[in-house]
């Protein structure tokens, strides 16, 4: 186990370096500059800017400086557009917003998805099974940027039940629509995964044994079947985290929430180079470490899994 963790970390660290290098390279290779606008700058002004941001130095010195401050000191630099704000402070401020929405959405998706998926598996080939799986497929097929505004139209602009947008702190009614919009896709995926996993487990020998020794159906399902049936859901958590990131980008744009995704899109549109690199690096580090955690959890939960 320890060897597995060490080996995975040995792959994870170079991967993070590759992601940062790739982003840095894309930005440096791209035509134009962050300071070039509609009007051409005078040579003196341009030289001053280049000197201030260290662009007059050779590329390997710029690269080395960026990498060292990110890896060595976890300092992502200063934003070019949000005057005087460090990238770290922007991440610190916007991360709680994204994390709140993401965690709530995933929790909601787990609860609903596992319930629906288990019932569908227990009543395989019934009307309920077909209906819930068709609805799940619909949930996968409707883009969240179409779903979100439609929910706003119905629940905010027509029924006046919940506010349509804006961030208003953690427990607040403003969270209902963003969380719902974000979680629909995961609900659908988790319901499908749970159904598939449960169907496989329900046909296995140990479930027959549990039934044969006279356990109630409730005990069989909850204590025995769910345990094995949920393995696909757990292994889905890794990819889900990545999807969750892109999902929050859309949801934050629709509902005007000051999260990480919103800042990332703004930075990409504004060519705010340190902010782009900072957010990409932060996301890559989080994602890879979370993936590692999921793999370790998987090994603990399923004794059949052995990592060399």
């Amino acid at each position: 186990m320890l060897r597995f963790i060490v080996r995975r970390l040995l792959i994870t660290i170079p991967t993070i370096l590759v992601v940062i290098t790739l982003t840095w390279g894309l930005i440096k290779l791209a035509p134009g500059n962050f300071y070039s606008g509609e009007r051409p700058l005078s040579a003196a002004v341009e030289n001053n800017i280049r000197e201030k941001y260290g662009l007059d130095k050779p590329w390997y010195q710029q690269y080395g400086k960026t990498m060292w401050s990110i890896i060595g000191r976890l300092d992502f630099g200063t934003s070019l557009r949000y005057e005087g704000q460090s990238v770290n402070s922007i991440i610190r401020r916007s991360l709680p917003v994204s994390a709140t929405i993401g965690i709530l959405a995933y929790a909601l998706a787990l609860v609903v998805g596992i319930t629906v998926g288990s019932i569908a598996a227990l009543k395989q080939n019934s009307k309920w099974d077909y209906a819930s799986m068709a609805v799940a497929m619909l949930g996968i097929s409707v883009p969240n940027f179409v779903l979100g505004p439609i929910l706003v139209l119905i629940f905010s602009l027509t029924l006046y039940w919940v506010p349509p947008s804006r961030w208003n702190g953690f427990p607040s009614r403003n969270l209902i629509l963003p969380v719902l919009t974000l979680s629909v896709v995961y609900m659908a995926y988790i319901a499908r995964l749970t159904r598939a996993g449960m169907l496989e487990v329900l046909g296995s020998d140990y479930i027959r044994t549990a039934r044969a020794k006279g356990l109630s159906e409730k005990d069989v399902v909850i204590r025995h079947a769910l345990r094995g049936g949920l393995m696909p859901v757990i292994s889905y958590t890794g990819p889900a985290l990545a999807f969750l990131l892109t999902g929050t980008v859309v949801v934050e744009r629709i509902f005007a929430l000051p999260g990480l995704g919103n800042y990332f899109i703004q930075a990409s549109l504004n060519r705010d180079e340190p902010l782009i690199i900072g957010i990409v690096a932060f996301i890559a580090i989080t994602l890879l470490l979370m993936n590692l955690l999921v793999d370790i959890a998987y090994a603990f939960l399923d004794p059949r899994v052995r990592y060399q």
Partner: protein
């Protein structure tokens, strides 16, 4: 050895399993028995037809594809306007009409999906947008197919250390936040022309969605490469690349078709997502994603501007997903996961 002699045995030996069964089929009929053998594909087709949702998917995909291709021309013939036609008679009258409503507010067949802010016909625009959306989905899937099949087949066929390294690379790429990288790529290299942007989109989307395809093909090739027909091909002196592409790859067709069908809606969804964020298809070209995005701005006043392209796209993706699921069940009943 001449080239003629080299290709001949190769052609003779490679009898795909479905052809072999079809031959047996003919023989048994000649013998007067009432046994009808059936080929892999015919069998799969029959199974597919039993799956109602998959058939619905297939029919809808065909309808929407044909409608996207001929629709704009047909509308021009019938009503006389192109997707870009902006009525200019009286600018004060130009506003967004609800579905099935004419300029006078009465029922009319002219605009079944209403019009947009400039008075352009929504149906014509949605059908034209379908051309772009489907085109992006299909071309990017082909790009991912090309990379994924080649990569997976090479890794599977040569095996050993090469396979280890190649698959480890895939593992690493799997864990990357690739959408984020695609956004960086598209925003940094934003093309000045809509066509350039479209090509950038194909490359970006295709080059990040080949990973699963590579894994599937590798798995298939691993299980096929030790079979007799490969040994026979090798014994007759067929070269490595030729064995891979003439003998192994055609036999992985089933899973590849299934996965390609499921990749198209994924890529279309990603394209829509990128268009929503402003990195996708550029005006004057429009995809379902960019049409829906335009509609979001007017959601409270003209909801049909979002709902019409949005629902069309959702139904298409729904159909493609169900078709892919149905194909998987039909082509490989044992592969029924998720």
């Amino acid at each position: 050895m001449t080239t003629e002699k080299k290709t001949e045995p190769d052609e003779l030996i490679h009898i795909p399993p479905e052809m072999a069964i079809a031959e047996a089929d003919v023989r048994s009929e000649e013998a007067g028995e009432f046994v009808r053998g059936s080929s892999l594909w015919r069998d799969a087709w029959r199974r597919l037809l039993k799956n109602k949702l998959a058939v619905f998917g297939l029919v809808f995909v065909i309808i929407i594809t044909v409608a996207s291709i001929v629709g704009p021309t047909l509308i021009k013939r019938t009503f006389g306007f192109t997707p870009d036609y902006i009525p200019s008679h009286d600018l004060r009258l130009t506003k967004s009409f609800p579905p099935f409503t004419g300029p006078d507010g009465e029922f009319s067949w002219a605009h079944p999906m209403g019009t947009d802010n400039a008075g352009r016909d929504q149906l014509a625009r949605v059908l034209q947008g379908g051309q772009i959306s489907l085109f992006v989905g299909i071309i990017a899937t082909l790009v991912s197919l090309l990379i994924g099949v080649t990569y997976g087949a090479i890794a599977g066929y040569f095996g050993g250390r090469l396979d280890d390294v190649m698959m480890r690379i895939v593992d690493v790429l799997y864990s990357l936040p690739y959408i984020i990288l695609v956004i960086v790529l598209l925003s940094m290299f934003r093309s000045q022309t809509p066509r350039g942007q479209l090509i950038l989109l194909f490359v970006a989307l295709g080059s990040v969605s080949w990973l699963t395809m590579a894994r599937i093909v590798r798995g298939q090739v691993l299980s096929l490469k030790n079979q007799e027909f490969v040994l026979a091909a090798r014994a007759t002196g067929v070269s490595g690349p030729r064995i891979i592409f003439r003998h192994l790859v055609p036999n992985t067709l089933g899973p590849v078709i299934v996965y390609a069908t499921l990749t198209i809606p994924q890529i279309m969804l990603t394209e829509a997502f990128l268009s929503f964020l402003g990195f996708g298809v550029q005006a004057p070209l429009a995809s379902w994603g960019s049409l829906a995005t335009e509609g979001i701005a007017n959601i409270s006043v003209f909801p049909w501007q979002l709902i019409c392209p949005g629902v069309t796209m959702a139904l298409t993706l729904f159909s493609l997903n169900f078709l892919g699921d149905g194909l998987r069940d039909a082509l490989d009943p044992q592969m029924r996961t998720v």
